[in-house]
């Protein structure tokens, strides 16, 4: 159905003598909210819409509308094009796209059958099973599916469907003055999350927080879980690989292609063609076939990310990184499915004789996206003594600079998928635990 609407909008563009592209989206989002040890409500949302971008006299204009209002959308986009700068942009004509697995029929079956309730309850019960005083106070199970169609006046017409699953739970031990909490989350394109394991893991985590320690003196060797490091990485390093930020001097990577920017073992690749990655997809939201893009190879900076528009401005062409978080957003540069790897140590083997283990950080969005400096609260953290997790650390802050961290970090082998959404932005990052020495810590 969405494909028909995209075709209709393209027809209207041609009728008005315009070039352009159309992005159509039809989606459903079903959420089971968790509160106080049970599912507190169920909510469901369905929508469909079109994002229309036209090029008139070399200028781009954008508008969004619902199916049935295609011509109105095209004319609005045409009107707005008058305000933009001329840009020598050509819409790609894509015939073949990559093959990638990102659709699991079983997720639709669960959505239609209402079985999400059982999965959420499994997760909640597993929390309670750890100890009687541990409760799943917060969390959600979200099932999602969409159909995307992208077409343009150069003859591209692509369609694809995907599914995804997000699950998270916070386990709490209530105390007189303050409560202890620990969270666990997972995401997948298919129905392969072990919900009981997820619940148990958050329960066990909070159970190991009962004893407290004093914040050790700075500096410390810090081991961070994939979740904790992902929080910092997404707000500090990810902005600096955007081609636009590089061109505008808002990235410390400006002029550093080919140079060593990380430890020689570190590899960062944006690979949407990996089967079942959270951001896996056959084509980007501007109709280009997706391919793996090495960003950092063996510590050396290789490539930046570009969409069609920035590809023209930077004279590099698009790398297939045009993304729209919704039909209401014009395309923007985004990583699709980032994978950070380069280590082979098991997490426990990464533990130093003495140091700090951090499972979750708070406030990473306030980091400096230009310089890469960060200063965050370690929300679930433990002291490491004799290579083992000892008492929890309350209110400890860690601070540093991501680019300095990249040079001296060691990566583990415990890869996990993480997903983060903020407005139309989405960051899908697969990464392991990391160990960084010489980290500044304070407080508590």
């Amino acid at each position: 159905m969405i494909l028909e609407s995209v075709k209709e909008a393209l027809e209207k563009m041609k009728k008005h003598g315009l070039q352009g592209d159309v992005y159509g989206m039809e989606s459903r989002n079903l959420a089971y909210a968790i509160n106080k040890g049970e599912v507190s409500d169920i909510s469901d949302f369905e929508e469909v819409g079109l994002g229309i971008r036209v090029r008139k006299d070399g200028k781009l204009g954008f508008a969004y509308c619902v199916p049935g209002k295609e011509e109105r959308g095209v004319l609005k986009a045409k009107e707005l094009s008058g305000f933009s700068q001329k840009l020598d942009l050509t819409f790609p004509s894509t015939e073949k796209v990559s093959k990638v697995k990102n659709f699991d029929e079983r997720i639709l079956t669960v959505m239609d059958g209402g079985e999400g309730m059982d999965l959420a309850r499994d997760m909640i019960e597993a929390v309670r099973d750890v100890k009687d005083d541990i409760v799943a106070t917060n969390g959600a199970l979200i099932l999602y599916t969409d159909s995307i169609a992208v077409g343009n006046t150069s003859g591209t017409l692509l369609e694809g469907s995907s599914t995804s699953l997000l699950a998270g739970v916070t386990a709490t031990i209530h105390g007189e003055r303050t409560s202890l909490t620990a969270s666990e989350s997972d995401c997948s394109r298919r129905l392969d999350i072990d919900f009981r394991n997820l619940g148990r893991s958050s329960g066990e985590k909070v159970d190991s927080m009962r004893e407290s320690s004093d914040t050790p003196t700075s500096p410390q060797t810090v081991v961070m879980s994939p979740d904790a490091f992902s929080g910092i990485f997404r707000f500090t390093l990810v902005p600096s690989i955007s081609g636009e930020n590089v061109r505008k001097n808002k990235s410390v990577y400006n002029g550093k292609l080919g140079e060593s920017v990380a430890d020689g073992k570190v590899n960062l690749v944006d690979d949407p063609t990996k089967d079942w990655g959270m951001g896996s997809r056959a084509f980007d939201d501007e109709g280009l076939s997706c391919t793996p893009l090495p960003v950092i190879s063996d510590g050396v900076l290789k490539n930046f990310l570009y969409d069609l528009k920035e590809g023209v401005k930077s004279r590099t062409g698009s790398t297939g990184n045009g993304f729209r978080g919704s039909f209401k957003s014009p395309p923007m540069i985004s990583d699709m499915n980032l994978i950070l790897k380069g280590g082979d140590s098991e997490t426990d083997a990464m533990f130093p004789e003495r140091g700090v283990y951090i499972d979750e950080v708070m406030g990473a969005h306030t980091a400096n996206p230009v310089s890469g400096d960060f200063s965050v609260v370690a929300n679930s953290a433990w002291k490491i003594e004799k290579g083992q997790r000892a008492g929890r650390l309350d209110g400890m802050m860690i601070s540093g600079n991501i680019h300095e961290c990249m040079l001296r970090m060691e990566l583990g082998d415990d890869h996990r998928r993480t997903f983060f959404r903020m407005g139309p932005r989405q960051i899908k990052l697969e990464l392991p635990s990391v160990r960084i020495s010489g980290m500044s810590v304070s407080g508590g």
Binding site: N35, S43, F45, E46, Y64, N138, M362, H365, N401
Partner: protein, 452 residues
Amino acid sequence: MTLKKMVDGIVEQGARFCDVRKERWDVNHLVLKDGNVEQMVSGEEEGAMVRVLYGNGWGCVGTSALERLEDAARRALAMAKQNHTFKEEKTGVATINPVTCKEYMPAKIRFEDVSFQEKVSFMKEIHNFLERDWVKSADIIYRDSVVKKEIVNSEGTHVMMEIPRLVTYMVVTGKENGSIQQASEGGGGTGGYELREGAYEKVDTVLDRLRDLLGADTAPSGRLPLIMDHHLTGVFVHEAFGHAAEGDLVTSGNSCLARKLGEMVAGENVTITDDPTFPGYGSFPYDDEGTKARPRILVDGGKLNDYILDRESAWKLGLEPNGGARAEDFRVKPIVRMSNTLMKAGDMKLEELLEDVHRGIYARSSSGGQVSPAQGTFQFNAQVAYLVEKGEITKPLRDVSFSGFTLDTLRKITGITDEMKTGVGHCGKGQSAPVSDGGPQVLISEVTVGGR
């Protein structure tokens, strides 16, 4: 079928309560980068969400296809029934008086009467004011929106309202001696195009801040006294306190303020309100359950006096709903949110606060923060800070964040100035909500400072 008939039909099938919130949005979003129009989005959309309470279970279904609304209501009922089957905790919606009313919040200059040309000219003018040798890049973001809402419930409430909002942001990046720094400033409120005027006075503020950042040192770490400017005080009351006062967190075991009503949670000098009727970016006449907005005095002279409540959390606590339910749009159900959160001014001058600081930090403005309301820990950062030595401001500092425990920190407020200012922001709690926050300048005797 009318909305009223639809919700009544659901109640006739055994539901305890049903409401529908229909919304129509008109949005213009413009981005000017380095003086050129980079993004211009104009869109209109409508949709609705139906909520059903059956027994103790909730089902909420939203759709952008209004012709399928009755189907959405039926599905919401089925979901509520499924939820009820597995739910042990009793719940309900506290009583509000049913109202029928139309409330249009005023806009002196309506957005639809202003051409795109004029909006672009305004942004270009701001851009020109921001030009300096050392400013390498300047982005101006402008967004206006008008939402028309219609809320109908099975108890007879029928609220129609219109809320216009405008927000502007300027983000400037500077480079000097190899240092790249960024500063930003936002402005706006609830009202019409006249609100853009506020942006002009922010130009000097943001340039001064960037100038200081370019010459700034890294900050010390440790436990130090902190003086917060007005904007930072706002972020502090929002993050460190406000979230923990949200009724849904209080009733679900996720707040350090649970069961503390009537207790002293701060010094006697501290009064904090959350007030949707105050003219700010987070104002509204009725909340998204159709409850009339009213000021909430959360902390009165140090005593925890009230929570922010929607109908469900009020029911669970045996209190009266006070207009705390807000939804980002028709895609999501209303949850308890802040509106305009303010700390009341005291009687001191900034110089007097400084005098009390032997070695500490004076911090200005913020790009946000985060809180873990159950643990009662918070973090927020300062856009720029200054080292204070023996009562004197000595040098600028960058990349500094603060953290602490809410209940400890509120008791450590030892000085409050006599004038207040507010700022705009977007609060994230799974959904985004436009809010204002602010207050006087405040001295906290000790927080954890994370510098480098």
